[in-house]
């Protein structure tokens, strides 16, 4: 009965409840699903006692009839405590608090984007405040332009301080604050400008009212109750944050956080929240290319079969994708056979994949929640703040553990947020990092070094050796600063209880992964021997033995894309590297190439041309235009994440389902549906194709059917989906205007889209949203905002009442894995470029550019800054250059990369042979590249500036025309159909 260990009895209006004593009274009350209004408290940010909204009356004992008012959020829970929510004293006070907040609130709900999902509305109704007593004039503020993502309407502010506590305290943002005093408190930036935090979008959800709103959503707005939503998985990095995507009239409107206690909790990063715009973008592929359509009405599967019949029986090589579903990749590989399958990785990346597979088979990566419990973190060669921002947010929370621990020693619980921060001051748990670029976590690292990737590899080797042999001479191979780093590392590590190592694919170096493997094995082996060592060190030994736990160092490696690990699970000894694909095509070992949702940006123009010439036929399946789709013979438009169904596998190996939000306009359909059509025609002899499925009198109508199909044909298919008994409604039961929205065209109510998918219905009819763990949206009676999620948690911030069944891919069965792939990663240094000694360059990609799909958002394009190159001040001095001046960056001849113009910046921590920066003309996964610098001529600078301006203008135009086309779509009667494939009736 360990569950009840932390529970005590609290009498709430004389009814006994079992309440968690480790949390505060407010959380305790809300966990019982009782209504108690609050503002400043947030389940993830704890209590500060500012708003005074959650007052309750506490009684000494059952004879006490007067009691005294306490703020539930700052009151600890104790056994036998008696409180009342319904007594007149506390009820009256709570109503007064809302009344006071409302003295300045503009009551502009009808024109406010928050209206209908506003926590302030909910709480006002909850307290019963309905009549306004205040007769004075209202305070007004000037709003700020905070960029293209977050709107600002300060007059609505009720001064709960949640925004600044989230932005600064929780997320470490620096460009947002609280200004002024008394009833003129202002939350914003010092001056207008883009919010710099990667988490700014959370202000929209954190703000209890409409001060911060989603600008993109507002520009093509609909009320929450008119959205049709589906549970989804973020498609923009490998964390696998749970999202809820809302659509109306066939266009995606917004992404909201979908609570998952193990992964994203209450917060998303901005790429996850706003990146979805690509599905509405102008680069979308909406029609087929290279398929002859017989009927002008619609494209049929017969058309596809006819057009492809010529290639039946030819030998195809196929490239899978880290952003396509697990189903599509799996099916593709089995279709072409493992000898003809490529993961779209280069030889170098295949070496990384081999290492990564090994690491996954040895170490189970921690969830974000587990990361938040670490007390020692070592980040290696990955700027997670930009590549996997949500993880960086968890790292920031983990760093607070030192102050939480300190507070606990004087009896202050972790939920007392302001007290813990007062007590902790600048105290943070140790964070060490070896990076090739500066990162936003540098301000909280205990030690960080800025090194080239080669140096990081070397430093890791030495560290791993030193951990094992503890021999000073081992350290002699590295610089003094690195020695200091390693010694500090060892010291901090030795007192850590829950150490963690984080890295990722940005280094583009299998050597780094190899170093991590050695370090992990060194640390964990040393630890397993420690009981013996501890005998000699009695003081430490006693303490640690009491905890009776062997220290386990955890490891998480972040690949770049939503299904990278899913793809990784399909890579084996036979899998082709992209170089091998190219050779095979040129040498005519294969006739055609199928590219599944892969932009192949690392192919040079020359290589793309080679493919075009060599391949008899190039078939591209994708949702957006890319260089490869432009040269393809056949292009098949596939569903983006919001239009299809599938599974992504996150960095931990957890398999998660994303659901179709709305049926796509044909011929757009899921990749796996297209692949099935291809299979039918191109591989007539294969037994598991759709035609054979038909023979078995089965139709592959929906993902569940398809999964069942895979399960019957492949012993390795990991998923076994059970069909739910009832389907959940995607629309709220309050959805309005069902008949009037198209009444100017027809008064007949259009038929709703029929779905073969049993789990969700395109309707307001069906099971309630919370009937499953995969909630399309969250709503509870009296709780219209996202705060309603508390009603569906077992207890505040706990698991959902409907438990998720977590499925993980198994990397332990070695038979699928690469048995060996040489770590032949010796970086051959170029002696000179343009007669200059080269610098080693590392690309620092901002979060909004580090994902190919999200890149299509005009809002993100508008955020792009000019190219920046950071060098050491001493290097600049040697060259006689000054900060801010324009330099020309040149690359090794034959690399196919054009020279770039960039502004020069200094970083004191760089060595003279190392540079980093953001060069937007380069692919984002660039590291360890040789460059040379020269002064840019005046003409080059001017051309570059003009080019920047043009890009900005293009992005603005793009934004305007996307909006225009979306709004014009709203004027059409929504196309109703059966949500299946091409053969829908």
């Amino acid at each position: 009965m360990s569950d009840t260990d932390n529970k005590v009895t609290v009498y709430i209006d004389d009814v006994p409840y079992q309440v968690n004593k480790e949390n505060n009274l407010l959380a305790g009350v809300l966990s019982q699903k009782l209504n108690l209004p609050y503002f400043c408290w947030h389940p993830s940010m704890g209590s500060v006692g500012a708003c005074r909204q959650c007052a309750v009356t506490q009684y000494q004992d059952e004879n006490d009839t007067r009691g005294r008012l306490v703020m539930a959020c700052t009151t600890p829970v104790s056994d036998g405590m008696r409180i009342s929510l319904q007594d007149s004293e506390s009820s009256k006070f709570r109503e007064q608090v809302i009344g006071a907040m409302m003295t300045n609130h503009p009551h502009d709900c009808p024109v406010c984007a928050e209206g209908g999902e506003c926590h302030l509305q909910d709480m006002t109704v909850m307290t019963g405040h309905s009549v306004r007593d205040y007769q004075g004039s209202k305070r007004t503020f000037t709003n700020q332009n905070l960029g293209d993502l977050v709107g600002h309407e300060m007059n609505r502010c009720i001064t709960c301080y949640r925004c600044v506590r989230f932005y600064k305290d929780y997320a470490g943002g620096k460009d947002f604050g609280v200004y002024g005093s008394r009833n003129q408190v202002y939350f914003g930036r010092q001056r207008d400008g883009n919010l710099e935090s990667e988490f700014s979008g959370n202000l929209i959800e954190v703000c209890p009212t409409g001060v911060f709103t989603n600008k993109v959503f507002s520009s093509h707005y609909t009320r929450k109750w008119d959205l049709q939503s589906a549970p989804s998985i973020c498609a923009h990095c490998s964390i696998g944050c749970n999202t809820s995507i809302g659509e109306r009239h066939g266009s995606v409107r917004r992404v909201m956080n979908r609570y998952n206690s193990d992964i994203n909790g209450y917060f998303l990063c901005d790429r996850g929240r706003f990146g979805i715009g690509f599905v509405n973008g102008q680069q979308r592929i909406r029609t087929t290319k290279g398929i002859n359509q017989l009927s002008p009405e619609k494209l049929t599967s017969l058309d596809v079969a006819k057009s492809l019949s010529h290639y039946s029986g030819k030998k195809f090589i196929a490239i899978g994708s880290a952003r396509a579903s697990l189903e599509a990749n799996f099916y593709l590989k089995n279709l072409v056979g493992k000898e003809c399958f490529s993961a779209g990785l280069s030889i170098k990346q295949m070496a990384m994949a081999a290492q990564h597979q090994q690491l996954l088979s040895q170490y189970k990566p921690p969830s974000l929640t587990e990361i938040e419990q670490s007390d020692f973190i070592f980040i290696i060669a990955e700027d997670i703040t930009q590549t996997a921002s949500r993880m960086a947010l968890s790292v920031r929370q983990a760093l607070r553990n030192a102050s939480i621990e300190k507070a606990a020693t004087i009896g202050i619980p972790s939920w007392q947020d302001s007290a813990v921060r007062t007590l902790g001051g600048n105290l943070v748990s140790p964070l060490f990092s070896l990076q090739s670029t500066a990162t936003k976590l540098d301000d909280v690292t205990e030690q960080s070094l800025l090194l080239t990737i080669d140096e990081i590899e070397n430093c890791l080797q030495v560290l791993a050796n030193y951990v094992v042999d503890k021999n000073e001479s081992t350290l002699s191979a590295i610089s003094d600063t690195q020695q200091t780093f390693i010694k500090a590392f060892i010291k901090a590590y030795s007192s850590a209880k829950k150490p963690l190592i984080l890295s990722g694919w940005s280094s583009q170096s299998a050597g780094v992964f190899n170093g991590i493997r050695q370090l992990m094995s060194a640390l964990n082996n040393v630890e397993s021997h420690t009981p013996n060592n501890k005998q000699s060190n009695s003081q430490v030994g006693v303490q640690n033995n009491a905890e009776n736990a062997v220290k386990e160092t955890r490891l998480a490696i972040m690949p770049s894309q939503s299904n990278s690990i899913g793809l990784l699970s399909l890579i084996d000894d036979k899998t082709l590297a992209t170089e091998q694909v190219l050779t095979a095509l040129i040498e005519k070992q294969a006739d055609g190439l199928i590219v599944l949702e892969h932009e192949l940006t690392h192919f040079t123009e020359q290589e793309l041309q080679d493919i075009s010439i060599s391949a008899e036929i190039l078939i591209v399946l994708d949702h957006s235009e890319s260089k490869i789709s432009q040269i393809a013979d056949i292009v098949l438009p596939v569903a983006a994440v919001s239009e299809g169904d599938g599974h992504y596998v996150n960095y931990q190996g957890q398999v998660q389902r994303y659901h179709q939000v709305h049926a796509p306009i044909l011929p757009i359909q899921d990749s796996w549906r297209w692949l099935d059509l291809l299979a039918n025609t191109l591989y007539p002899n294969v037994s598991y194709t759709v035609s054979n499925a038909k023979k078995e009198s089965k139709k592959l109508h929906c993902l569940a059917d398809f999964n069942q199909h895979l399960l019957t044909h492949f012993k390795h298919w990991p998923l076994d989906e059970t069909t739910p008994e009832s389907s959940t409604a995607r629309q709220t039961h309050r959805a309005t205007g069902r008949t009037s929205q198209s009444a100017n065209i027809s008064v007949h109510e259009p038929k709703v889209t029929q779905s073969y998918d049993q789990s969700l219905s395109f309707s307001m009819e069906g099971a309630k949203a919370h009937a499953t763990a995969e909630m399309p949206f969250t709503w509870a009676p009296g709780w219209n905002s996202n705060q309603s999620i508390i009603q569906f948690q077992q207890e505040v911030s706990g698991e959902l009442t409907q438990k998720t069944s977590n499925v993980y891919l198994n990397f332990n069965s070695a038979e699928h894995l690469i048995s060996s792939w040489p770590v032949n990663d010796n970086h051959e240094r170029v002696v000179s470029i343009n007669g200059q000694t080269p610098l080693t360059f590392s690309q620092k990609t901002p979060w909004y550019l580090s994902d190919w799909q999200a890149n299509f958002n005009p809002e993100f394009q508008l955020m792009a800054e000019d190219n920046r190159l950071f060098v050491s001040p001493s290097y600049a001095k040697q060259q006689g250059w000054n900060k801010g001046q324009a330099v020309k960056v040149s690359f090794v001849a034959g690399s196919g990369i054009l020279p770039q113009i960039a502004s020069l910046f200094y970083d004191e921590n760089l060595s003279d042979n190392h540079a980093y920066g953001t060069l937007t003309g380069l692919e984002h996964n660039i590291n360890n590249l040789d460059i040379s610098l020269s002064e840019a001529t005046n003409d080059e600078s001017i051309d570059y500036q003009q080019c920047l301006k043009n890009n900005q203008q293009a992005a603005r135009d793009n934004k305007a025309s996307i909006l225009e086309s979306l709004k014009s779509m709203d004027q059409l009667i929504p196309i109703r159909m059966v949500s299946g494939g091409l053969d829908d009736a």
């Binding site: 909204q53 006070f93 006071a100 005093s181 007392q416 302001s418 007290a419 007062t422």
Partner: protein
Amino acid sequence: MNNPSLRPLTQLVNLEQPLTLEQYINEGGYQGAQKALHECSPAEVLTIIKDSGLKGRGGAGFPTGMKWSFVPMFDDDDPNKPDNKYLVANADEMEPGTFKDRLLLEGTPHQLVEAMIIGGYTLGANKAYIFLRGEYHVAAQRLEQAIEQAYAANWLGSNIQGTGYHLDLYVHTSAGRYICGEETALINALEGRRAIPRAKPPFPQVSGLFGKPTIVNNVETLCNLPHILRNGVDWYKNISPESDAGTKIYGACGRIKNPGLWELPFGATIREVLYDHGGGMLDGLKLRGLLPGGASTDFLMPEHLDTPMDYESIGKAGSRLGTGGLIVLDDKNCPVAMVLNLLQFFAQESCGWCTPCRDGTPWAVEVLTRIEQGKGNVKDLDTLANLCDFMWLGKTHCALAPGAVEPLKSALRYFHEDFEQHIDQGCCPYHDVTKVGG
């Protein structure tokens, strides 16, 4: 000295030209510090302070020795021993009607420096701050000068007077907020943060300035230390055997004949302060009521004139001693306007953290303004009463709003007729112009 003064704190005050270090020493200065540093262990000094019965003069009247004893003491080899502790003098005197600290700061700066040395030694603090009201330019200059002299004479700095004790003392001039009088808001301001009271616990004694154990005391409180050390606990307690220990600097302002400050044995009656020292009301004016200890105390009425001004007696009479600075209301001034003026101050000075204070005080101002202008209605009195209830103790984050409520609530009780007259007549009965024009 055989016959120590009954005005220990103010006898050396010279507002024209405060005593230099040398002069101060000649007058017996630094003897208290001498005694503490040379003859007592810190624990012994603390015992003396506890025994003296000294209470905080900032307004709350909390026993100083007890407050200090909450600072955790560590053995030298204790790994949890903090690397520093802090003593802070709260010289952010912004209570309306109160100007006693200014007298001490400008008139005898060395007395405070000496007090800081004694206090710092007792607590084991190596750094001390004087958090000074920004407008007190003269005090700032004189304190800086005194500190400079003290450093030169080795009363500050390292190895003070050969005792091995080290203390650095800094003057920090405030950017000016009333809330900085609240000790944790003061600490936040001193750290460069927003001046907002902190959540307690942790109390500053455990985790205050920069997370270290910290004591914040009022200037007047601290200035008692040299004298207690020098003259002994018995002398101190015998100054006013019937009341709180020691002396109190009482003040009076308003339309009285002789506004000013007087250091008297604790427990002088209001009548003594107002009439014997303050000279009574100006001719032609009658006493209507008074605030006994600054703006954030309840009104007392003429019938309370014989109440001794100590914490207990004033409390029994329904108010608080506060700072001991009387604000006097006469019969030709409008009580509604006076309360409005006070509430405007509190609304202006609210830090903006908690809802009752941030939005309640301006609301009270809005209602009072209308009443004062003759635009009020009877319902407004209920609103005011509700607001008093809304901002009362236990409902707010700190004591600012309850302090604002005190004059308002008591005015509603004592001057109810005035409020009603405003509403009934549609104008301010005290305002001739309104009367004529209305």
